[in-house]
Amino acid sequence: MKIKLTKSATALVTIMLALFPALAAVAGEKAEDNYRTYCWQCHGMNGDGNGINVRDMSVQPRDHTYGKEMASRSDDELFMAIKEGGPAVNKSVLMPHWDGIFSDEEIRDLVRYLRQQCRCEHGKGTSD
């Protein structure tokens, strides 16, 4: 009986340890941190589409601070562009799928973060 209890306890600890990283992953990263890590390379540190990768690009990455342009995109379009890449919203192939890295919840957070950056809402223009 004693042995069985020890085994059960060990199994429980193992399961908890295995689940902990998974639970952490479900919680997701902050949008600001994801943006800095993954989006800066093309969209730039200021979010204006002037990242270090643009030098030889055939299409300039979106300027996320340009309210007028960003307001013409719905939240669903922005979500699709991040999740499935530019071609999913008839935009450039240079914008890749990010579904291998971000959860849907993280993408929704990123869309909210973009709305803060452009200080705009879909169809309403900027708040400036």
Binding site: E29, C42, I52, D56, G100
Partner: protein, 236 residues
């Protein structure tokens, strides 16, 4: 007298045999000692890969715990003696860029050269690195079948169709800067590894900033053909 000599000869013989058998293992151990003493500060020799952004940001150099499944041994030995930057913006580009009026640029003052090893050290370290074979389940040995593609068609696929040039240079001074250069990749990396990594980068490195490009199976092999063709060009 002769009875006393026989065991001595036997002992010497066994000793020699043991030494000969142990020599490669010693090179391995010597290499591993160097790795642990001088390389483990920047490179993870044990894994697993970062599972959070905090861990990703703390990483200073490429993970080496699957080096034996990733690198070509000859390249390792030669590069370790004469290291040359592979990623124009450093290992994690975020740490090496700054904004300017004309857009972000690489802050070269933050880029530090990689230490160089002697020929003997490089030999031993390359030997030891090739023994680090985590993630073997992600590799299908012999999956890549050599073939050819013209540089023009390869570039068309890599750049126009798939947009990979956004982050990778396809020749010195041409292409994106946040990722490693691809014009030398076929000299550096094993073909089967490239196939596996391009198929699913996050299987190797969950938080890496190279996205899963959803490449078709046919693309994977053609990309490796392209990288091999690029590696034969003399860009120096």
């Amino acid at each position: 007298m002769s009875a006393a000599r026989k065991p001595v000869g036997l002992i010497v013989g066994i000793g020699l045999l043991v030494t000969l058998i142990a020599l490669p293992a010693q090179a391995d151990n010597k290499g591993m000692e160097i790795l642990e003493a001088r390389c483990s500060g920047c490179h993870d020799l044990k894994g697993p890969a970062p599972a959070t952004l905090k861990e990703l940001w703390a990483r200073k150099g490429p993970d080496l715990f699957y080096a034996g499944n990733k690198y070509k041994r000859a390249w390792l030995e030669s590069w370790l003696q004469k290291p040359k930057r592979i990623r124009p913006a450093g290992y994690f580009y975020v740490d090496h860029i700054k904004p300017t009026e004309d857009g972000d640029v690489i802050d070269k003052s933050t880029l530090k050269p990689h230490m160089a090893l002697s020929a003997e050290e490089a030999h031993d370290v390359a030997e030891a690195l090739m023994s680090l074979k985590a993630n073997s389940h992600l590799i299908t040995k012999g999956e890549y079948k050599p073939g050819k593609i013209s540089l023009t068609m390869g570039e068309m696929r890599f750049d126009k169709f798939r947009g990979c040039m956004a982050c990778h240079e396809i020749e010195p001074g041409y292409g994106g800067l946040s990722g490693p250069e691809v014009y030398t990749v076929a000299r550096r990396l094993q073909e089967d590894f490239m196939m596996s990594y391009m198929r699913d980068p996050q299987a190797w490195d969950p938080k890496i900033f190279m996205p899963n490009m959803h490449l078709r199976e046919g693309d994977l092999e053609k990309f490796v053909h392209y990288f091999r063709a690029l590696s034969e060009e003399d860009f120096e």
